[in-house]
């Protein structure tokens, strides 16, 4: 600051207050200039990319709505960086429903604009962080369709996967009796409510037994004293319980997290898309190499490949005494070859015609070897000449 003051013509720069930049996570006094700094721009792009990936997850659920189980609620939270609030899915039946509604809201849009105005030099990525109303409407329709389809099984699942062990066996037994479930689902789980009928039945039994309690305890069925006789006898064998050391229902692998599946499918989608070719695409003959590799694979598989190597094929070569492109050098060479062939043919024809005439044939024969062997003739002769000298 003082240095700037000493320079005669420059105005003293404003002293800005220290402000905290959410993106760079530090305090600075650069003022509004800060958002144009390259470091800030880099951090901003990283910051926005991170949030974009979170929104991509939410968008996945926008396209594929699935039910949200209570134990997964805590995993389904999103922190919206623009609104500075945590979106928790409390009591929502579908995954990311609150998040989707939030991202579609006008308040969120306003906050995005404010954020980008303050932190980002460019405002063009606003739409990346918004969810349009049309998409939301589609999602709602999908959800209702899904909801209608799986009404009973959905609720059965929900209630089964609740962490109440007492209720587990009851649900397995009475899964199809929806009239038990609906009122209870609405009112939150009341554990012993499910055992009502049982309880009432066995309660009378207990009282009945109770009178005989002192008489013969061995006559009582196991576990009945003062309690309902659960269906533990038949369900305990199949799925186990705490006493048998079976895993709790929320950790059973078959149920599986929605998120794991989505991750797996996304990873599986990505793998074939990424072509891991580390070779420089700009290397010499890259296109030819790729084509050749494909041809060789086809040959390996035994498919018929059009053999492009005919007798006249010549590689890409830049000749010594030619200037211009390599195609030119190849063309020139082929021209020379044709000339020589023509010359050789013409000579052979002439020699055939003049065979009978001695003098001329002699002269022609003497010329023949020189002309028919073109390549060695001049340069090699010169070279041999220089060596001899």
């Amino acid at each position: 600051m003082e240095e700037k003051n000493t320079k005669a013509k420059k105005k003293p720069s404003k002293k800005n207050e220290f402000d905290f930049c959410k993106v760079c996570r530090f305090h600075h006094d650069h003022g509004p200039r800060h958002k144009y700094f390259p470091r800030h721009k880099e951090l901003l792009s990283a910051f926005l990319n991170r949030f974009r990936s979170k929104i991509a997850d939410v968008r996945f659920f926008l396209k594929n709505p699935s039910f949200l189980r209570p134990q997964e609620e805590s995993q389904n939270r999103v922190w919206c960086v623009f609104c500075d609030e945590d979106i928790v899915e409390l009591g929502s039946s579908f995954a990311c429903s609150k998040a989707i509604n939030h991202f579609a809201s006008s308040e969120h849009h306003k906050n995005i604009k404010q954020f980008l105005w303050k932190h980002g030099p460019s405002m063009d990525c606003v739409d990346d962080f918004k969810i349009s109303d049309a998409d939301v409407a589609k999602w709602v329709r999908k959800c209702t369709a899904l909801g209608n389809k799986d009404a009973s099984s959905c609720t059965g699942q929900l209630s089964r996967t609740s962490s109440d062990i007492h209720n587990k066996f009851e649900f397995e037994r009475t899964e199809k009796e929806t009239h038990f479930f609906n009122p209870n689902y609405l009112n939150d789980v009341k554990p012993l409510l499910y055992n009502t009928n049982e309880y009432q039945i066995s309660h009378s039994g207990v009282t009945h037994y109770g009178s005989h309690l002192n008489v013969d305890a061995s006559q009582l069925p196991p576990g009945v004293i003062g309690m309902t006789s659960n269906s533990s006898s038949h369900s305990g064998d199949s799925s186990g319980n705490v006493h048998s050391g079976a895993p709790p229902p929320w950790l059973t692998p078959n149920d599986g997290n929605i998120f794991n599946q989505s991750e797996i499918t996304r990873v599986q989608e990505k793998i074939p898309v990424k072509t891991t070719s580390k070779l420089n695409p700009h290397r010499v003959g890259a296109a030819w190499a790729e084509r050749r590799k494909i041809e060789m694979e086809m040959e390996k598989r035994g498919e018929a490949v059009n053999s492009n190597t005919d007798a006249d094929w010549l590689p890409n070569f830049g000749r010594v005494w030619q200037s211009g492109t390599r195609k030119d050098s190849r063309k020139e060479f082929e021209k020379e070859k044709r000339k020589l062939v023509v010359a050789a043919e013409s000579i052979s024809m002439e020699s055939q015609e003049r065979k009978l005439v001695k003098t001329e044939s002699v002269s022609m024969e003497s010329e023949e070897p020189v002309q028919i062997q073109p390549y060695v003739s001049k340069r090699a002769v010169c070279f041999a000449f220089t060596i001899l000298n």
């Binding site: 003959g285 060789m296 070279f383």
Partner: protein, 178 residues
């Protein structure tokens, strides 16, 4: 002590000779392919993908050619990951097309290819399209092939020779009657 040291030196020499013999046998058992037909040359050019192809044009009656072949054989394995080496017998008739096309007038000549494209080497001589003569030692050859490979991977069709001028064989190139 003297006798024992002499014994050790003799024994050491014997071991060394045996090693050399074994090495040579090993090397000779994996000879470089000698090509005598145009189809063979075409095939090897077309089948060498993403590797430098070194084609030596020469005749085994030539002393320089033999020295060059020796160096090629010994370093073929070292460069095998990024180069293939082959010998072309220049006396064969079917190969004359290539001798013509590549303007080979001096033997031995070595031509370099990468992905069926000819790689040029500027070694300060008149002819950039090939390497004429022998190499001074194995490392020189390996350096040249490496430089060609690096240049080719970057997309360059001509590369600069890394060898100092005293190691580069000099020759006179004559154009037709000049």
């Amino acid at each position: 002590k003297k006798s024992s040291s002499r014994f050790h030196s003799v024994w050491g020499l014997y071991i060394l000779k045996r090693q050399i013999r074994n090495h040579r046998e090993k090397m000779e058992s994996v000879l470089l392919p000698t090509l005598t037909k145009k189809e063979e040359i075409d095939r090897i050019i077309n089948n060498t993908i993403d590797k430098v192809l070194v084609l030596r044009f020469g005749r085994i009656s030539d002393e320089n050619c033999l020295l060059l072949d020796d160096i090629l054989e010994k370093s073929a394995r070292d460069v095998s990951k990024f180069a293939t080496v082959a010998l072309v017998d220049v006396d064969s008739d079917q190969v004359q097309v290539y001798v013509n096309y590549f303007d080979i007038t001096l033997f031995p000549s070595t031509v370099f290819f990468f992905n069926a494209h000819h790689m040029k080497l500027d070694s300060g001589t008149a002819d950039h399209t090939k390497w004429v003569g022998k190499f001074h030692e194995k490392q020189d050859f390996i350096d040249v092939v490496e430089v060609i490979f690096r240049g080719a991977m970057k997309g360059k069709l001509i590369v600069h020779c890394p060898l100092p001028p005293e190691r580069i064989p000099k020759y006179q190139l004559l154009y037709k009657d000049v």
